[in-house]
Amino acid sequence: METKNILVVGVGGQGTLLTSRILGNLAIHSGYDVKLSEVHGMSQRGGSVVTHIRYGDKVYSPLVEIGKADIILAFEKLEALRWRHYLKKDGLIIVNTQEIDPMPVIIGAAEYPEDIIEQLKKEDNKVIVADALKEARKIGNFRVVNTVLLGLLAKNLDEDKDKWETAISQTVPNKTIDVNVKAFEAGYNL
């Protein structure tokens, strides 16, 4: 199989790394070579975070090249725009409508762009927009936004749904398996 390139982008603390680990485990189950890499500044919350996931017959670089991502899964709207140039022509971008103001916006030194979805749609790519925070709140835990989005991603990839649920169960802490599987279903059915 030709190498699949996926970017998971968001804000530190949103669970991008956990999500990419689930993807990594899924790739192992499917018998692929796989590499993951998280790029972020320092280990605090609040910074811009991007995780690169690459799987296929043989993977060299742990980083996706600019203009070569098949899919970008964005946990936050502004981050979708920040990383969009990694997407290949006709690639898919899945964007959560959640907004988290960066510090320069909070202190009034910058403005949060208003027309992000329109800008994303202007390019040669497919865009799926979702309010995953609303779905997570419906399940009763706003922290599972990431798994809702993973469900949405799964619907757009070719792997069996059973494999996904196994990968989730093997990756998340035991006591959160149920709520995560529920969130995954919610995303899958969006």
């Binding site: 192992i28 605090q44 725009l81 762009p113």
Partner: protein
């Protein structure tokens, strides 16, 4: 595939140590090296510990090795500076049980204050160094390093970079080989490095390195892949992966050993290719060495000495392929910030309000340098806040320093702030040092330290008492404050900075992320009481946001610390449900 596991480079290093029969592992946490020792600690067969700093960690490691155990010591690149003193001399004494030192570089400075290249240390300390290019090699190279260490009676360094330490790839697990402790034999000519013995050992070191230089021409970690010979590339570490990605048809010499490098293999490779490139992140170390042998290569003429490389970069520089890369528009940057609920925020708020200057240090609290808190003026290295503060007083006098404090975290204070504080007392300084004691090593992800009462293995231990310690080194004025109570902090800062004697303020509250089970009740803004004065915005709390001119608190971010409520003059910030 069941026996293959997706592992972080650091986790693979730990696995390598386990499989190599290591029985002692020592470190001070530092990104990107931290997880190495955290993962090693999970193996019951290995004794693992945090030391107060890298110098002590290496000294513990040297002792362990000389007494006969296979030993691993891990640190980040700037940690090697701290450990440099014993490092240069353990090269002379050599080892008994194998000794492997991990140095994790950070090209691109994802979480560091400089971009130094640890290969220089290997060269100048005359220590062989290996560099893996993915997790699988990370594990194998650790095992290889122990064999080299014992075969040649030398410590061996392994260089990692952030992209190896913190990326995950597949690793084949093997069984552990238990290695018996070597017999300890007293040998003062080998282990007592006073001038007479050291001169003799320097000769041994030179012979050893000459031997390794010769032998490394046949080491299996250096590999040649001959393809199209119009382009040849010499590379190592993660740049090897970028080269393979960008130039799948090129011929590649991958150096698994990065010091010394195999002259015969390189000459042979150079003769077979038309144009030879060197692709190495950071400094032109291979390049200068290879050019000195009279071999023509292209390196830093086209490649940068700054930051991380990528397949894009290799493609662009070597293929001169005009990549039509869309440049993203200028978007608001998203720098990391102190978490909602961070206890450091209250101290910076007060310093800002009082217009105090501060020498700062390495830790989460370094983020207090950014607007709106702008709470520190300097940041150089661990422990520097204390020493620099004293230097400022001696340069500018007692009145000047009354507008200043030094800021340091608990772990950093133990790492290298204590000696600075001793210096202030000894040399009759009057400075005020604020220890931000959040009961953990926050920035690297919550490692225990001598002030937390827990060891790396999770056992209870003696708690270093920062108040008593300060008293015992001669600080009479020591007070503990609650950083969530700005009035209390303000009074303490005002009074202590006015005193003409050295003083210590300990701002004590645990890191917000330590207690995961605590129920967090968020605050909200009572819009009827809010006068829109924007005082709360001065805290730089990411949970407080200005939506269309109105303050709101984001309930998915608020930790319920109440600091904003404590500074709101109108009582407009209330707990949800009140």
């Amino acid at each position: 595939m069941a026996d293959k596991k997706l592992m972080l480079g650091n986790e693979a290093v730990a696995r390598g140590a386990y499989e190599a029969g290591v029985t002692v592992a020592v470190a001070y946490p530092g990104t990107p090296s931290t997880e190495i020792t955290e993962f090693v600690a999970k193996y019951d067969e290995v004794y693992a510990q945090w030391s107060p700093n890298e110098k002590v960690a290496l000294e513990v490691g040297i002792g362990s090795s000389i007494s006969g155990a296979r030993t691993m010591v891990a640190m980040k690149h700037v940690g090697v500076n701290v450990a440099a003193d014993p490092l240069f001399t353990v090269s002379y004494t050599g080892i008994n049980g194998g000794l492997v030192i991990l140095a994790a570089d950070d090209p691109g400075m994802h979480s560091s204050q400089n971009e130094q290249d640890s290969r220089f240390y290997a060269k100048s300390a005359h220590i062989p160094m290996l560099e893996p290019s993915d997790s699988s090699e990370a594990k194998e190279f650790v095992k290889e390093a122990f064999d080299i260490s014992e075969k040649y009676d030398t410590p061996v360094m392994i260089r990692l970079t952030t992209r190896i330490s913190h990326s995950q790839s597949l690793v084949q697990l093997n069984d552990r080989t238990d290695v018996a402790l070597k017999e300890y034999v007293k040998d003062f000519k080998k282990n007592v490095m006073m001038p007479g013995m050291a001169r003799a050992r320097h000769i041994v070191v030179e012979k050893r390195m000459n031997q390794i230089e010769e032998d490394c021409n046949t080491f299996s970690c250096n590999t040649v892949e001959m393809n199209d010979t119009s382009i040849g590339v010499i590379t190592s570490g993660v740049p090897y992966q970028y080269v393979k990605e960008a130039l799948p048809n090129a011929s590649v010499l991958k150096l698994g050993m990065v010091h010394p490098i195999p002259k015969k293999v390189i000459e042979d490779f150079a003769n077979k290719v038309d144009t030879l490139y060197i692709v190495e992140e950071l400094e032109p170390i291979f390049e200068e060495q290879i050019k000195s042998w009279g071999i023509e290569v292209i390196g830093k003429e086209i490649f940068t000495v700054q930051g991380e490389y990528s397949a894009n970069l290799v493609e662009e520089k070597i293929n001169e392929h005009k990549l039509n890369l869309a440049v993203p528009k200028q978007l608001p940057v998203r720098p990391p910030v102190m978490c909602p609920g961070c206890p450091h925020r209250g101290v910076y708020y007060v310093l800002n309000k009082l217009k105090k200057h501060a020498t700062g240090d390495i830790g989460c609290y370094t983020l207090g340098a950014l607007p709106p808190l702008e709470g520190i003026d300097t940041c150089v290295c661990m422990g520097a806040s204390v020493g620099m503060l004293h230097g400022m007083e001696k340069a500018r006098g007692k009145e000047f320093i009354k507008d200043w404090v030094g800021i340091i975290g608990d772990s950093t204070f133990v790492h290298s702030g204590i000696t600075g504080l001793v210096d202030i007392v000894y040399n009759k300084g009057i400075s005020t040092v604020i220890i931000l004691d959040n009961s953990t090593t926050g920035m690297t992800g919550h490692q225990d330290n001598p002030a937390t009462g827990k060891t790396l293995k999770g056992e209870d231990t003696h708690v270093l008492n920062l108040v008593e310690l300060s008293h015992s080194i001669g600080i009479n004025s020591v007070r503990v404050v609650n950083p969530f109570n700005p009035e209390e902090v303000e009074t303490a800062v005002k009074e202590e900075t006015m005193k003409e004697e050295p003083s210590v303020i300990i701002a004590s509250a645990p890191c917000e992320l330590l207690d995961k089970k605590r129920k967090r009740v968020p605050y909200r803004i009572n819009v009827d009481a809010c006068k829109n004065c924007k005082m709360c915005m001065k805290l730089g709390c990411p949970a407080i946001q200005n939506k269309d001119g109105k303050m709101i608190i984001n309930d998915t971010l608020c930790s319920g610390c109440g600091l904003c409520s404590n500074i709101c003059k109108f009582g407009a910030i209330v707990k949800d449900g009140e």
